[in-house]
C-alpha cells in the first residue's frame, strides 16, 4: 500500500493531494493542469514540496533522495539514454527478471539497437522494461501513451495489460484518456485544480452521477465487466454483463474471456416504454436510482440494470417532460456502435 499526502503552492495554483494506492493499477485522471504529473513527481522525489509524506508499506520514503526510493518511473517522453544500446538502457537500473521482461515486452529483437532507431511505441516499451528491471516497489507511469498515435497505442496497451496482470506492486497511471483508464485501472483518483475530487474503484466512480461534471460529458460513463459469450457471423460480439447481454461491434476477446465494456453517458437513451422497431440492439430494463442536475442543460441519471450500474445523461427538458424520478422503472437503449472496440478490453 502506497500512501501519499502532498501539498505545494505554485504561482496561482495550490496542490493538495492525499491518496492511497494498493497493489494494482490506480489511475490518476484529470484535465491538463490539474496536478497529475506533479503528484507522481513528488512521489518519485523529483519535485520538492511544502508537504510530502510518502510511505510504502509503512516505510517512509519522504526523506530519501530519488535514487534510493525504489520507485520506477516511465516518463511521457521515454527518456532513453541515446548513447546506450537498448540492452544497456534496460540494464541501467538492474537486471531483475531480465528474461521475463524482455519476453513480455517483446524486446528481444531490439536489444542491439540504439534509441534513435526505435519507433515511439518501441521506445515506450523499452522505457517500461528499463523501469521494471530496476525491481521497483512502486511503478509510476506518466501518460506513457499520450505521445503515441492510435496504432502505436494499440501496440503498447496489451503489454501494459500483461504487466498489470503479472505484477503485485502499486502502479500509478497518470492519464487523461478515459479509454485507457477504463481498460487498465481498477481504481481511479480524479484530480481537479490540484485536489482529489473523486476516489474509488473504477466501477464505482464511473457510475457515480456526481462524477459527470469532473470527468466531462465526453469521458463520463459506466464501465461494466462481462464475459464474452460468442461471436456472430455478422461481426458482432455478445457479452454477458451484470446489466444483461450486450452486443458490441467487432470480434472482441475469446469466448469465455472476461472483458470490460464502456458505456459513455452520451450514448445512453432513456425511454418510458419498451421501444420496438428501432435500430439499437441493446435495450435494457433499468431502475433510476438518482438524478443529479448539473449546472448546464444536462441531468446525470444513475441507473440500476440487473446487478450492475449504468449512467446516462439527458437534457433537463427531457427529464422534466418524461417526469423522471428516482425509483422509476424505465428502459435504457445503448447503441451497439456506441461501444468502440478500442474501449473494450
Amino acid at each position: 500500500m502506497l500512501r501519499v499526502s502532498i501539498a505545494k503552492e505554485f504561482a496561482g495554483f495550490a496542490l493538495d493531494v492525499t491518496l492511497d494506492a494498493p497493489a494494482g493499477v490506480t489511475a490518476i485522471f484529470g484535465p491538463s493542469g490539474s496536478g497529475k504529473t506533479s503528484v507522481i513527481r513528488a512521489i518519485a522525489g523529483l519535485l520538492a514540496c511544502d508537504r510530502a509524506e510518502v510511505t510504502l508499506d509503512g516505510r517512509d520514503l519522504s526523506k530519501l533522495s530519488p535514487h534510493k526510493r525504489g520507485v520506477g518511473y516511465v516518463f511521457q517522453d521515454a527518456r532513453l539514454f541515446p548513447h546506450m544500446s537498448v540492452q544497456k538502457n534496460l540494464r541501467y537500473g538492474g537486471i531483475h527478471d531480465e528474461d521475463a521482461v524482455v519476453a513480455v515486452l517483446g524486446l528481444g529483437a531490439l536489444l542491439d539497437r540504439y534509441p534513435a532507431a526505435l519507433s515511439g511505441g518501441e521506445k515506450q516499451r523499452v522505457a517500461l522494461g528499463r523501469a521494471l528491471m530496476s525491481a521497483p516497489k512502486v511503478l509510476l507511469l506518466d501518460e506513457p501513451l499520450s505521445a503515441l498515435d492510435a496504432p502505436r497505442k494499440a501496440e503498447v496497451l496489451p503489454y501494459l495489460e500483461a504487466l498489470r496482470d503479472q505484477t503485485a506492486i502499486p502502479i500509478l497511471y497518470v492519464s487523461h484518456d478515459m479509454g485507457e483508464v477504463a481498460r487498465l485501472a481498477s481504481r481511479i483518483v480524479v484530480l481537479n485544480e490540484g485536489r482529489v475530487v473523486l476516489e474509488g474503484t473504477v466501477e464505482d466512480v464511473l457510475a457515480d452521477p456526481a462524477a459527470v461534471p469532473f470527468l466531462g460529458v465526453r469521458d463520463a460513463g459506466a464501465v461494466l465487466t462481462g464475459r464474452v459469450v460468442g461471436h456472430a457471423t455478422d461481426g458482432l460480439t455478445k457479452i454477458e454483463t451484470g446489466a444483461g447481454a450486450l452486443w458490441v461491434p467487432g470480434a472482441v476477446g475469446r469466448a469465455g474471456s472476461t472483458v470490460r465494456v464502456r458505456v459513455p453517458v452520451q450514448d445512453v437513451i432513456l425511454s418510458r416504454s419498451a421501444p420496438t422497431d428501432i435500430s439499437a440492439l441493446n435495450v435494457l430494463p433499468v431502475t433510476i436510482t438518482a438524478l443529479e442536475r448539473g449546472a448546464g442543460p444536462g441531468v446525470a441519471v444513475a441507473l440500476n440494470a440487473g446487478n450492475a450500474r449504468l449512467l446516462a445523461r439527458v437534457t433537463k427538458r427531457s427529464c422534466d417532460v418524461m417526469g423522471l424520478a428516482a425509483g422509476d422503472q424505465i428502459f435504457a437503449i445503448l447503441k451497439a456502435t456506441a461501444i468502440a472496440p478500442a474501449d473494450v478490453g
Binding site: 520506477g72 518511473y73 516518463f75 527518456r79 541515446p82 539497437r113
Partner: protein, 231 residues
C-alpha cells in the same frame, strides 16, 4: 628534415607542445567544474564566476600577464604558496608559460563544455536517478558521455590557444630561449632578426599544421560519437 628547422626552433616547438599539453591537462577538470557550475548551478555569485572565467577573453593579454606576474611571481602571494606547498615556481619558467596558456585558454574551454552541458536533456539525468543511480553515477554514465563532444571541442580549443598564446606569456615569463620561448614567441623573435623571415614562415606553417590536425582529429572523434548514436 631535421635541418628544415634550426635547433632553437625545434626546442621552441617541443616547448610549445609541452606547455599546451600540461596547460590543457590541468585546466580540464577545473574547466569542466566551472562549466558544470555555470550550466547547472543556481548559487550566489554565479554571475561573478561567469565574468571571472571570461575576463581573460576580453582583457588585453598584457593585463592578464601582468596580473599573473603580480599574483604568481616569486614574491606574489600565490607564487609563494605554490613554491612552498608544491615546490612549483612559475616566474620565468616553462611552468609559468603553461599557467598563462591555461588561463588564456580557460574561457574557450569552459564555453564549449558549458554549451554541450546545456544541450543535454536534464530529463535523462532525472530518469537515471529514478533507476537508482547516484549523482556521481549519473555524472559518469549519462552527463559526461553526452557532453563528450563538447569536452573534446573545449580541449582542442584550449590546446590550440595554449600553442599560440603570446601576450600574457611574454609579459608574465618573458621570452627566454629554451625556457619560455614558445612557438609564437619564437616567430616574433625571428621576425625581428634580419634574415629570420624564412624560418619564421616555416614555424608559422608548423603551427598551422598542428592546429589543423587537432581540429580534424577532434572532428573525427566527435563524428564517431554522434554516428554511433544515430544507428
Amino acid at each position: 628534415m631535421t635541418d628544415w628547422l634550426g635547433p632553437a626552433e625545434w626546442t621552441a616547438l617541443w616547448l610549445s607542445l609541452k606547455v599546451a599539453f600540461w596547460a590543457t591537462l590541468f585546466s580540464l577538470p577545473f574547466g569542466f567544474a566551472a562549466a558544470y557550475a555555470l550550466a547547472r548551478g543556481s548559487f550566489f555569485g554565479r554571475q561573478a564566476l561567469n565574468v571571472l572565467v571570461h575576463l581573460p577573453l576580453v582583457m588585453p593579454p598584457v593585463v592578464t600577464g601582468y596580473l599573473l606576474l603580480l599574483g604568481f611571481g616569486r614574491t606574489g602571494p600565490l607564487g609563494e604558496v605554490f613554491e612552498q606547498l608544491f615546490g612549483i615556481i612559475f616566474a620565468f619558467r616553462w611552468t609559468g608559460a603553461a599557467l598563462a596558456a591555461a588561463v588564456m585558454g580557460f574561457p574557450l574551454m569552459v564555453r564549449a563544455i558549458r554549451l554541450s552541458l546545456e544541450a543535454i536533456d536534464q530529463g535523462l539525468e532525472e530518469a537515471a536517478g529514478t533507476l537508482g543511480a547516484s549523482r556521481l553515477r549519473v555524472l559518469r554514465t549519462v552527463t559526461l558521455p553526452l557532453a563528450w563532444p563538447g569536452i573534446l571541442a573545449g580541449t582542442v580549443l584550449g590546446f590550440a590557444k595554449g600553442m599560440g598564446e603570446f601576450g600574457a606569456t611574454v609579459t608574465f615569463v618573458s621570452n627566454i630561449p629554451g625556457q619560455t620561448q614558445t612557438l609564437a614567441l619564437s616567430i616574433d623573435t625571428l621576425l625581428e632578426v634580419p634574415g629570420g623571415e624564412p624560418l619564421a614562415l616555416r614555424l608559422a606553417i608548423v603551427s598551422i599544421a598542428i592546429a589543423a590536425v587537432a581540429l580534424i582529429v577532434s572532428e573525427l572523434l566527435a563524428q564517431r560519437v554522434t554516428r554511433r548514436r544515430a544507428v
